[in-house]
Structures are given as structure tokens and as C-alpha cells.
Symmetry: C2
Subunit: 352 residues, 2 copies
């Protein structure tokens, strides 16, 4: 598996299947781990950083995690490939930023997991699954964690639990998040109520690319904020059985309200989105996310059947800047990307 081949398909988590996939795009469980006997990355000197990277690489790539694991050294990776990995949610924006820190990511062939080495912590192990599959993701991340721990000793305190570079991760070191598509709550203006409710439950609501990013395409990442003093299963149970079903119910109510009481305005949004996607000759990145969001809503509420959810999910991904350039096989400035984006969409919609 090479990075260029990644653009041929979307990761498992984008296939648009799995429980509640009309609203829950994906479930993610991430563990933060650090090796015992080493400083945290921001305190380690370059030789130590390299040693940590090497120890992790060996353990990750020795075959225990599967045969088809790709190792990408980010210091050697072209910028567009780093960006591609960000767009695919395999690494963080911070991990992709150009710097000298020796760091890498390991990814399996289906992109169900990725392991960032020398990001904020020595190890960030994440599992991404399609739809609402937190328990499955949790089981998988635990198996990965066990396999890594066979020959790596983690920094652990009996009093605090797993030690991490940022205090918000100390304890279980777990972060659980779901990517939700909430177009109806946005259209009805109720999204702020959901944000406030989530805030009261100590949850973070973020945009498409995590911290500090905007909720383009009406895509929201909801995640737990604290990991200290609570068990993993407790955090997970909260999410799977209380938080997410509640937000899903709100979104479904908003969708029903639109269908029943504002059907013309709803159809207007949906058909305008289809019209722009199938006719525009240039499309900006934020604009296409907004259009795809309305189209996805339209398919999910049964008002349009010209395209499937999986195709729409893929379009969310492959129309992003790095993907466009990898698919086109050439670097592109913003204006060229806008044209390439519109052309690619029309091709995928079968109207070009």
C-alpha cells in the first residue's frame, strides 16, 4: 500500500454503513500512550525522539498488528501526502505540520486504525469505524494496545493512570468521539442548543478537522473532554447509550419538522445543491461541503435518489485539496483546484 493508492477508495469508516449511519458518519476511539523511561516528546532531545520512534516502529511493524500495515515517515513525506493523511483523518493537523521532529504514522490497509508516533504523546492509537460502532472500535483499540504493550512498557502511575503530555488525557488516556452529520439542526437553527447541552455535559463539539476547525458540511465531532477519574467503560457507555442517541433524536426530529412543515424550503435546498454540484464549473472547498451536506440530507430523507450515501461520503473526502492534487497527479493552485473539484464532481455524478 502506497499513499498514491489511497485516493482510489475511501477508508472503511466512510463507506456509509453501520448503525445509525444516516446521522453518525463515524466512531472513533483513541488512546494516548507514552513509553516509560523517556521524557514526553516536547521535553525529549532529538536522539531520544529518534530512539522512541525506532522502538515504536519495531513493535508496530513486527507483524503483530497485521501484515498489511503502512509506515509513513512524516519527515520524509511530501507536504501534499501529509495533507492527504489529514484529510483522511489518519493524522492530526499538528502531526502534518512541517518540522524536524522525527515522527511517523502507521495505517492498516482498510484504514480502520492509525497509530501516530511522536505526536503530542509517543503513541496515539486510534480506531475509526463507520456509523455508531464505539464498542467495536473500543475492542479493536484495546487489542492494538495489548499487542503494543507486549514489548513496550507504558508510563503509568497507580494514582493517576496512564501519563500523558497534556493533563486532559491523563488517566485512561482515552478519547471517544463521533462525527455527526447535523444538517437539519443547522437549518432549523437548533444547533446552538445542542452545542450548549453538550458543553454542559463536558463534551467538546468541534468541526470536521477537530480542534479549532469549522463545522463545514454540517459535520460535527463530539468528544469527551476529561479522562481522569472515570473508567473507560463508563465513558464509552455514556456516549453510546446516552449522548449520541440523544443528539440523533434531536436531528431526526428536526428532519421530520422540515419534511412536514417546510418541505418546499427543504426541497429548494436539496435541489439547489444537486443543481450546483452537477452544473458548476468551479467550486470552492467550503461551498462543496455545504452542497454535499444538503444533498446527503436529501438522500437520507428520501427526497432525491440520484446518488447513494457512500458516493456522497466519498465526495466529501476526494474533493479536498490534497486528494484533488493526488488524483490529478499534479500540484494545483487554489483556482485550478476549484476547476478540478467541479470537474471531478460532475464526473462522479455522471453528468460530465
Amino acid at each position: 500500500m502506497t499513499i498514491p493508492r489511497m485516493t482510489d477508495h475511501a477508508g472503511e469508516w466512510l463507506r456509509g454503513a453501520g448503525p445509525q449511519s444516516e446521522i453518525v458518519i463515524s466512531s472513533r476511539v483513541r488512546l494516548a500512550r507514552n513509553l516509560a523511561g523517556y521524557s514526553f516528546i516536547n521535553r525529549a532531545d532529538p536522539p531520544q525522539q529518534t530512539e522512541i520512534l525506532e522502538r515504536c516502529r519495531k513493535q508496530i511493524m513486527d507483524g503483530h498488528l497485521g501484515d498489511d500495515v503502512l509506515w509513513v515517515s512524516l519527515t520524509e513525506c511530501p507536504q501534499v501526502d501529509c495533507q492527504l493523511l489529514v484529510e483522511r483523518h489518519l493524522i492530526s493537523r499538528q502531526h502534518a505540520a512541517a518540522n524536524e521532529l522525527p515522527r511517523a504514522v502507521a495505517v492498516d490497509a482498510n484504514e480502520t486504525f492509525s497509530i501516530m508516533v511522536n505526536e503530542e504523546d509517543h503513541l496515539r492509537v486510534q480506531v475509526l469505524r463507520s456509523g455508531l460502532q464505539l464498542e467495536e472500535a473500543f475492542d479493536q483499540v484495546n487489542r492494538l494496545d495489548d499487542a503494543l504493550e507486549e514489548n513496550l512498557e507504558y508510563a503509568f502511575s497507580k494514582r493517576f493512570g496512564y501519563l500523558t503530555a497534556c493533563p486532559t488525557n491523563v488517566g485512561t488516556g482515552i478519547r471517544i468521539s463521533v462525527m455527526l452529520h447535523l444538517p437539519a439542526l443547522k437549518l432549523t437553527g437548533e444547533i446552538e442548543k445542542v452545542r450548549r447541552a453538550a458543553h454542559d455535559m463536558h463534551l467538546a463539539v468541534r468541526g470536521l478537522f477537530g480542534e479549532g476547525s469549522e463545522a463545514h458540511g454540517d459535520l460535527y465531532q463530539v468528544s469527551n473532554q476529561t479522562t481522569l477519574g472515570r473508567g473507560e467503560r463508563e465513558i464509552l457507555g455514556d456516549f453510546q447509550h446516552t449522548v449520541v442517541p440523544q443528539i440523533i433524536a434531536y436531528e431526526q426530529q428536526a428532519r421530520q419538522a422540515l419534511v412536514q412543515h417546510r418541505s418546499v424550503q427543504l426541497d429548494d435546498k436539496i435541489w439547489r445543491a444537486w443543481a450546483m454540484l452537477s452544473h458548476a464549473r468551479t467550486l470552492g472547498n467550503e461551498e462543496i461541503l455545504a452542497l454535499l451536506s444538503h444533498l446527503r440530507l436529501g438522500v437520507n430523507v428520501g427526497r432525491i435518489d440520484k446518488i447513494g450515501i457512500r458516493q456522497i461520503n466519498e465526495l466529501f473526502l476526494i474533493t479536498q485539496p490534497a486528494h484533488l492534487q493526488k488524483i490529478g497527479g499534479t500540484p494545483m493552485d487554489a483556482s485550478t483546484r476549484r476547476e478540478a473539484r467541479a470537474t471531478l464532481v460532475r464526473q462522479r455524478l455522471g453528468v460530465a
Copy 2:
């Protein structure tokens, strides 16, 4: 001919034919006349106003101007019908405004001429023709003027010429104007240069509905400002042979520049316009004029052939508020009109 039947077709001036009709929508020549021996309308008392109206009506309707002339008393006319006449450029907005002043308009079956009685002047005689046909319009308005003068004595001063309520009309009492479609000058940002040049030549540049109106749909009315001290033929010659051809040349250059150097951006505008018109479920009045403008440009520069110019011209007219309500046969609030507008357009484009 009754007002309801007007919505079946557009007037002669909107048929999209005639010289230079790619850019010149229509040519208009208007005369201002007042009867000798009466005060101007704003000074006349109600009995006088009625007497003026009656004298004019008799002369207009006695058959000299043609057999199929419609007389509409605006004090008895429902508001929506008055608005319809404004949208068809048969009366001014001022003439349509609700008030007690006895006033009327006479219109021929093809809507080549309209005669407003008791607007700002006792008589406002206008001829509207498709494309650049100022001389034809002038000849026709002169014939009408002669026919009216057979039994009406006009207020005339040897020193000043025809006397009118507003000093800007004194002299020939003539106003010459063309309705121009200038989408390329708008897109390239050069329209302000044209406005300034027109201003320097003592021309007025106004929007779709004359004084104080916006240039929605990139439609501009260019007209002469002064009528005193210059002969009719001189004013007309200026317009026909200097002013209008110059603006036409500017617009054509701008169109060529778009086609040659910004073809993707141009196609983007054109196809987005087509997409919105053929898919939207609600359309605002200003939005549709902007979309029709880009579509009209697209047809004229040969980038799209899904519709003819005459159909587009008609859509400019029949999607306006009063037309929508007459066609629908019922009063409509703004929100209902937006839906009716989108439905009507899709029907006319053959996509509904």
C-alpha cells in the same frame, strides 16, 4: 383586449428581434404634451382633471389610432392590474400609485404604444420597439402625435417649444431611451466606467423601472436628460449613431474578453444560472433577474443552447409579482410568489 389576456404573451418590444437585439432589448421614444388652456395636472382642480381626461380619451379612442386600442382607467383598475402595466412598461410607477387623480392609459394590441393621460403631463405618448429601432419608434410616435393634434391644441411657446410640467422636458418634450442588457460589463467591473462616460454626455443611466430603480438583471435604461435647445432629430441621431453603438461596442469587447480569457468563470456563471433556474423550488424576484441575465448572456455568446432569447425575455417579464398573480389567478404573498415563480420557470424550461 382585456388586461387578463395580457399575460398570454409579451409585448412586441420583448420578442428579442430587431437590430442589435443581443444587447439592445428595446428602444423607446416618449413625448410629453399638455393641452392648451388648462393648468398642468398638479395645479388643476378635480373637475379640470376630469375634463382633460375626457377630452384626451375622446381623441385617443375615436379610431384614428387604430381599432384595437385598450383604455384602462387607473382609478378603477385593481392594484395588481396597475402593477401589471408597470411591469410591462406601459405606465410609470408614479402613474400606478394609488390616488384619486382621474387618470388612464391607452394601449394598442401589440403594446407598441401606450398613452398615459394625466400622469405628470396631460399626455405622455410612448412607443416601444424591440432592438435598436429608434427611428422607427420616432416615426410612429410622430404619427400618433399628429393624429392626436388633429383635435387637441397643445400648449406651445414659440420661444421654449412644448411646455411641460417639469422643466427638463420643455422644448421638444421628447425623451429617447434604450434598454440595454450589459451583463459582461457588470461581470468585468467596467460598468461604472460606462456610467461615468454616460453622465459626461448628459445621459441618464437607470435601472429596469426607470428613475430610482436598481439595475436588476443587468438591465440599464439609458436616456437623454435635456430636451431644451436641441432638435428632435439631433437628439435621436446622437443616440442611434453615437451613444448606443459605443456602449454596444464596449459590451461586445467585454463579452469577447470573457470568452477568451475567463471562459471557465463565464461558463460557471452560465451553468449555475441554468442549474438554479431549472432546479430551485423557490426564487426571489431579484435573484431570478440575475440568473436570467447570466443565462441570456450564455445564449448570446453561444455557450448554451437550451433556450431561446425570446423565451428568456418573456421570463424576465412573466416572473414579476403582478404577472405571477395574474397567471396564477389569485393574490399571493411574497413567499407564495417565490414558489410560484420557481414552478413557472421550471414549466417554461420544460423541466417541471
